[in-house]
């Protein structure tokens, strides 16, 4: 379950090395064990230089993809998990857990407590999930509230100390690096014996519980007879409990109105102490299962000091909040488009913003547009071949709005206009971006009475809700569109 080494590499395309090792840490005592356990199949860890090159090559991040290279591009080299074997000379360093996120490659090498040939299965190696937890922990730390490169550099500078705290000998003690950082800064370390290891210090002050429900809705709409439209709500409940005492007990309940959509696929934070079996079994994957449980969803827990994601859920609401259709047809040198959007009557008609983005890929710049909108304004970004239809805060009374137009394009310049692998020919989409405050699509809410706190003092309870769109696509119904299996009405 220990790690032999961990690395952070920044991916820098179009530079000679294509990357730099920003941080690395090796664990010699674990390495000592690796030598014994791996025996003849032991491969030592290379220095940072060779490792960088091997890692970038294996992830296909070197800039040399002009020509076919068999050792990289061969069809038989298929990776189905983020676990790689790095080729170093004649040897292969395995299993390197690695992934690229926001231009940084997170990599770790877990100890395998047996010989490596034949290769043991990943599922039987506890080090793999520990490696993922470590890397996710580092990623959360680097990107929580981090805005600029300077901040990233500061955080990278804190990493050695933090890992000394949370992973001194290669065995991870806590994946929550941020709380460990707070831990270092807590001067009075009077830790009572029954204090959870994931709770740093104790809170002193007025009790306060804050619960935010954030729902994202995604959709794929085709407006086609043989394809079903898809939509899904993904919820995240974020809590922050400022309560006195070592282990205050709290029960938070989420409720649905009578016509609310049941929550499914609920994943809870590890601080939740017990779960109703109905919460555990309500799932979206089994269409045949109609034993919908509509709450209330009770989560008894001991809260950690910092803000945490109490739970994630998905939900299948009966209708998408905005139903649309998009028709685009090529007529000689022009494109003729029509977009219709209709807000469902049950949805709160009060947006923070609402926009429809209409991109045109693999074409030249927009040279001429003739259009008519029934509502809102249209902005045309000619060079980017993009039109943005700003709908604003409210749909009109009719709840339905239309845009139609005829667009002419100039000659294509691959440097300036966007290329897309999917939107070829007539395949095109409109993407909606919107946000509604104090609203959830499922109806899910937490109120004053839904929080029980077994601690001294009556806490102030504040709740927030919001709905935002994410991957909300309306595809051109006059051309083929990418479909998921669930869309095929078989």
């Amino acid at each position: 379950m220990a790690q032999r080494a961990v690395w952070l590499v920044s991916h820098e395309p179009r530079t000679p090395a294509c990357g730099t090792v920003r941080f690395s840490r090796r664990y010699p005592t674990v390495e000592k064990r690796a030598k014994v356990f791996n025996g003849a199949s032991y491969v030592p860890i290379p220095e940072d230089g060779p490792l960088l090159n091997a890692l970038l090559f294996e992830l296909g991040l070197l800039d040399t993809d002009k020509d076919f290279v068999e050792s990289r591009d061969s069809c038989a080299r298929i990776n189905k998990t983020s676990v790689y074997g790095l080729r170093l000379g004649g040897d292969e360093l395995w299993p390197v857990v690695a992934f690229l996120k926001n231009g940084l490659i997170y990599a770790s090498l877990p100890l395998v407590e047996q010989t490596l040939s034949p290769r043991p299965s990943l599922i039987n190696n506890s080090g793999i999930s520990q490696a993922f937890e470590l890397l996710f922990g580092v990623q959360d730390f680097l990107y929580s509230s981090q805005k600029s490169d300077a901040e990233l550099n500061t955080k990278l500078g804190q990493l050695p100390d933090l890992l000394l705290q949370t992973c001194p000998f290669g065995t991870l003690l806590d994946a929550n690096l941020q709380s460990s950082l707070d831990n270092i800064n807590v001067s009075s370390m009077t830790q009572p014996p029954k204090q959870p290891a994931w709770k740093t210090g104790t809170y002193k002050g007025k009790p306060h519980v804050s619960i935010s429900i954030l729902e994202k809705v995604k959709s794929m709409q085709y407006d086609k007879r043989d394809l079903a439209d898809l939509w899904q709500v993904i919820g995240t409940v974020i809590c922050k409990c400022d309560l006195e005492g070592i282990m205050p007990n709290v029960t938070i309940s989420l409720s649905l109105p009578t016509n609310g959509s049941p929550l499914q696929d609920i994943l809870v934070h590890p601080c939740v102490t017990s779960l109703d079996s109905a919460v555990l079994t309500s799932t979206s994957i089994d269409a045949a299962d109609d034993s919908a449980f509509s709450g209330p969803y009770k989560f008894p827990l001991t809260p950690p000091s910092e803000a945490f994601n109490l739970c994630y859920y998905t939900s299948q609401v009966p209708v998408p909040p905005i139903l649309g259709f998009y028709q685009m047809q090529e007529e000689e040198v022009q494109l003729k488009i029509t977009v219709n959007l209709k807000l469902h009557e049950s949805v709160k008609n009060n947006f923070e913003f609402c926009e429809a983005h209409i991109p045109f890929y693999n074409r030249g710049p927009i040279t001429h547009v003739e259009y008519k909108v029934s509502f809102g304004q249209l902005e045309v970004l000619r060079e980017k071949s993009l039109m943005i239809w700003t709908i604003g805060q409210k749909f009109p009374k009719s709840m339905a709005i239309t845009l139609s137009g005829i667009i002419t394009f100039g000659t294509k310049n691959p440097e300036k206009q966007p290329f897309d692998q999917i939107c070829i020919g007539g395949t095109a989409y409109v993407k909606l971006h919107f946000k509604i405050l104090d609203y959830t699509l499922t109806g899910c809410y937490a109120d004053q009475h839904s929080v029980q706190v077994f601690a001294s003092g009556k806490p102030k309870i504040s709740t927030h809700r919001k709905l935002i769109s994410s991957d909300y696509y309306i595809w051109n119904s006059k051309a083929p569109a990418p479909v998921a299996y669930g869309s095929l009405l078989l």
């Binding site: 080299r77 990776n79 983020s82 089994d286 990418p482």
Partner: protein, 881 residues
């Protein structure tokens, strides 16, 4: 040298981290470890600089202090530095403890004889238990800070030396839940307990007082008695996997059943386990997972410990989406199977995993790992072989809907989902599922078509082409038995080639990788695709590359027609070579007919002289070699390693036919009975071929300058089973001395290859060099010998040797071994022997009279260097009988 400045250290550490090996090989490398230990005590350096020095020693102790003695000295110095710190709070104490621990373990110095170990262990345990005897760590608040660190150091030491803390299990149990931080203590207790049990079980011993002793392993207190190494010594330094990945092969798992436990001990154990599991919730998720792996696998098979102990934890764990926790649940599932998970529990676990594998709130690497876990799920009653990936029985196609590929996914996710889809498509079991499988196959074709469309975009990145071919490969591998799928795949790929011939290298790679089910139809389809074109478009280069792979005996006339047409457009060297490459592969496949005409045409008309030469060579080969030999000459070499460069690979087979191949010995060579012929010693060689050899040439090499170089020996033909004439190899010694001949053989095989083989060396013995003197006229032998003797005497060396006699007696021995050299024989009791040793030495022997067990031999030689050889020879005479 005095202490270095902060800047100097920063520079040094930077240079070291850049490349530790280069730094250590450089001028400063040798002193780095020493300087570091010295400067830790320097008052000029800030604590922050010292922390960075300690960070280096934690990470690279094996480079700084590579052997046990150095590591021991370093750890001692670090501990001394720790004691020298002023009682003020300091950030150095924690890294000093960690560095000392790392140095001892990494240098291999940890052990009962190590003084540093004897200091560190009680110090750590004292700190951990909150009983710092000697007040090293001033303030109470800092002690608490160090407590957790001390526990971690002890856990690492126990991991690297199982059994080390076996003596304080009772103490640990007592502390758990009463004092100190709960996480490090419970993890150490679980580890030490597991290790102790495994060691005792392996020894077939009982638990003893392992769990009940409640004091320091040093006896009365931290510093009064030496550390108790008993259990660690019993463990023999053998490492224990903390989470065995291969449970069946581990003796830890099953071996625990061998442990003898009394009912009280069983109770004690269960109480400890329950205590550990009870506080599991207080640990961080990653530490909970560690504890569960440790207890799950570690205690599997232990008598009286029901897996149901874990049950109260499961619902809580199943509710989370945390990777480490669900992975630990899977480990428990694999360890205990049905004993912990009923069929319903198994179904619930599968549902949770499936939901987690596609949950939009989790990141892609987590999805992929969960999918991997699903396909390798430890089922209660698996149907297929356990090492094969496949969706578990309880996970029907219905539940997998969300795990099917979509074109909008990242390549890795798409491939993983496509793999699952292929496995579902391959399953044509019962009747009612047929419709669904049909639907899945339709969907598969849609996805593949989408991928091909993306790959066909001229401006598309290589990654989309790579993805398309990987998907095709997966489908071909998983659905090789589904002709309909393969047919549409073949057609789709042929169309893709038509759209984008620049993908030819991918096609060649695919043809090389897939099985014959797809390879053959795809080859035919691609060949047709190529030869139906005119060969005049810009893609000629790709067409030729493709054709070199797919051309064959079938459809040769169209192929040749295409080539004929293409030749006109092959204006540059590269295109001509590509064209010739196709000719070559046709030659190899035995296409003869029109090919000769084409080659002749090329030999005359190609612009590049190199191309013309090649064409002419191919023409000559075609005209002169039989089909099998052609195939052999142009086919890929089996012995040579595959080289990545296409330039080299291209000519490999051809070059193999024309150059000498190294081969294992194909004949046995031995030395036959001695023959005395001619003026020099001759070695009679016996040949025994193992396979037919032609034009055999045997080459001999004598080390040093002892002999003149030997000529090679030629044999036209050797066939196994047919007697070969012995070969005579004349030796020309420069000194009379035995030697060893290195022998190598060069020959041609019946297939026309020339091979070279090293044969075992041949020994030339001393007696092989003996030559007789010309025989004197009758009755003058005695005088001749005396004259020889007298002529040798002036500068000769005389000696006397006892030559033991075997049962055969002197007469028989002499006639067998020395017969040709006897000058005077006064049988049966005295012989005079004269031996000529080329080039110019003489060896004279007077034997007899024979006594009971030997005979005394007087010997005289004019070359003193042969005396020891002659002595050895005579002493060994009878043995050789």
């Amino acid at each position: 040298m005095g202490p270095l400045s902060r800047e100097a250290w920063a520079q040094r550490l930077g240079a070291f981290r850049g490349s530790p090996s280069a730094f250590m090989a450089g001028p400063e490398g040798e002193s780095l470890g020493r300087d570091l230990l010295r400067d830790l005590r320097s008052e000029k350096l800030s604590e922050q600089t010292k922390v960075s020095l300690l960070a280096l020693s934690m990470e690279f102790p094996d480079q700084l202090w590579p052997d046990a003695a150095e590591a021991e000295a370093a750890a001692t110095s670090l501990l001394d530095t720790l004691h020298l710190l002023s009682p003020r709070p300091s950030v150095l104490r924690r890294p000093l403890l960690l560095a000392a621990t790392a140095a001892l373990v990494a240098g291999g110095a940890l052990g009962p004889t190590s003084g540093a170990s004897a200091r560190l262990l009680p110090l750590l345990l004292g700190l951990a238990a909150g009983r710092d005897g000697d007040g090293v760590f001033g303030s109470a608040s800092e002690q608490r800070l160090l407590q957790a660190t001390a526990w971690e150091c002890l856990r690492e030491l126990e991991s690297c030396r199982p059994g080390l803390l076996g003596g304080c299990l009772g103490l640990l149990r007592g502390l758990l839940g009463r004092e100190g931080p709960v996480q490090p203590l419970s993890l150490l207790l679980a580890l030490a307990l597991r290790n102790g049990l495994v060691i005792r079980a392996r020894a077939g011993a009982s638990l003893g007082g392992l769990l009940t002793g409640s004091d320091f392993p040093t006896g009365g207190g931290p510093h009064t008695h030496p550390w108790d190494w008993t259990l660690a010594e019993e463990g023999d330094g053998r490492l224990q996997p903390q989470a065995p990945s291969c449970p069946a092969a581990e003796d830890g798992g099953r071996g625990l059943a061998a442990l003898e436990t009394s009912p009280e001990e069983v109770r004690e154990l269960r109480a400890t386990l329950a205590q550990l599991l009870d506080i599991c919730y207080l640990l961080t998720p990653v530490a909970q997972a560690q504890l569960l792996w440790l207890l799950g696998w570690g205690l599997q098979g232990l008598r009286g410990q029901p897996p149901a102990l874990f049950k109260p934890q499961l619902v809580r764990l199943l509710g989370t989406g945390q990777l480490a926790l669900l992975h630990a649940v899977l480990a428990l599932k694999a360890a205990f199977g049905e004993a912990l998970f009923t069929a319903q529990d198994e179904a619930l676990l599968l549902h949770r995993l499936t939901a987690a594998a596609q949950h939009p709130a989790l990141p892609a690497p987590t999805h992929l790992f969960y999918l991997h876990c699903l396909l390798n799920f430890p089922e209660n009653s698996p149907l297929g072989p356990s090492d094969e990936e496949g969706p578990p029985l309880l996970l029907g196609a219905q539940l997998c809907q969300g795990l099917l590929p979509s074109l909008l996914q990242e390549p890795m996710t798409l491939l993983a989902h496509l793999h699952l889809l292929c496995m579902l498509c391959a399953d044509d079991g019962e009747e009612e599922g047929k419709g669904r499988v049909q639907g899945l196959r339709c969907y598969l074709e849609k996805v593949l078509a989408g991928l091909r469309q993306r790959a066909s975009l001229a401006a598309g990145p290589r990654a989309s082409a790579t993805l398309c071919f990987r998907a095709s490969y997966l489908v071909a591998a998983c659905l090789a038995g589904q002709p309909t799928v393969l047919t549409s795949l073949t057609q789709g790929l042929a169309q893709l080639y038509q759209c984008r011939p620049a993908l030819a290298p991918h096609f060649v790679d695919l043809l090389n990788s897939v099985g014959p089910e797809l390879r053959e139809p795809l080859r035919v389809a691609l060949r047709q695709e190529v030869v139906l074109g005119t060969g005049s478009d810009g893609a000629l280069r790709w067409h030729l590359q493709m054709l070199a792979k797919v051309a064959g005996r079938d459809g040769q006339s169209t192929t040749l027609r295409f080539l004929q047409g293409a030749a006109a457009h092959c204006s540059d060297w590269a295109l001509q070579q590509a064209l010739l490459q196709v000719c070559r592969s046709l030659l190899r496949d035995g296409v003869a007919g029109g090919l000769a005409d084409l080659l002749q045409m090329l030999a005359g008309h190609l612009k590049d002289p190199d191309g013309r030469d090649h064409a002419r060579l191919y023409y000559l080969l075609l005209a002169h070699l039989s089909e099998t030999k052609l195939g052999m000459a142009l086919g890929p070499s089996l012995t040579a390693p595959a080289l990545a460069s296409s330039l080299v690979a291209e000519n490999q087979g051809f070059a193999a036919a024309l150059t000498v191949q190294e081969a294992p010995p194909a004949l046995r060579l031995s030395v036959g009975p001695r023959r005395l012929e001619g003026p020099s010693p001759v070695l009679q060689l016996l040949l025994e071929p193992l396979k037919p050899l032609y034009s055999l040439e045997l080459r001999f090499h004598v080390g040093g300058q002892v002999y003149r170089p030997l000529d090679a020996v030629y044999v036209p033909c050797l066939l196994p089973g047919r007697p070969a004439r012995p070969l005579l190899l004349p030796l020309q010694p420069r000194r009379p001395a035995p030697t060893r001949l290195e022998v190598s053989a060069l020959y041609t095989t019946p297939t026309g290859r020339t091979c070279h083989a090293h044969l075992p060396p041949l020994q030339v013995k001393f007696e092989d060099l003996f030559l007789p003197f010309p025989s004197p006229p009758e009755d003058t032998g005695s005088r001749f010998f005396e004259e020889l003797w007298a002529s040798c005497l002036p500068k000769g060396t005389e000696s006397r040797v006892w030559c033991p006699l075997g049962p055969e007696g002197l007469e028989a021995l002499v006639s067998r071994r020395l017969g040709p050299f006897v000058v005077v024989a006064q049988s049966p009791d005295s012989y005079c022997v004269a031996i000529h040793l080329p080039p110019t030495s003489r060896l004279l022997l007077r034997l007899g009279p024979a006594q009971e067990d030997g005979v005394s031999v007087a010997l005289l030689t004019d070359d003193w260097t042969v005396l020891p050889l002659a002595g050895d020879y005579l002493r060994g005479l009878s043995e050789a009988a």
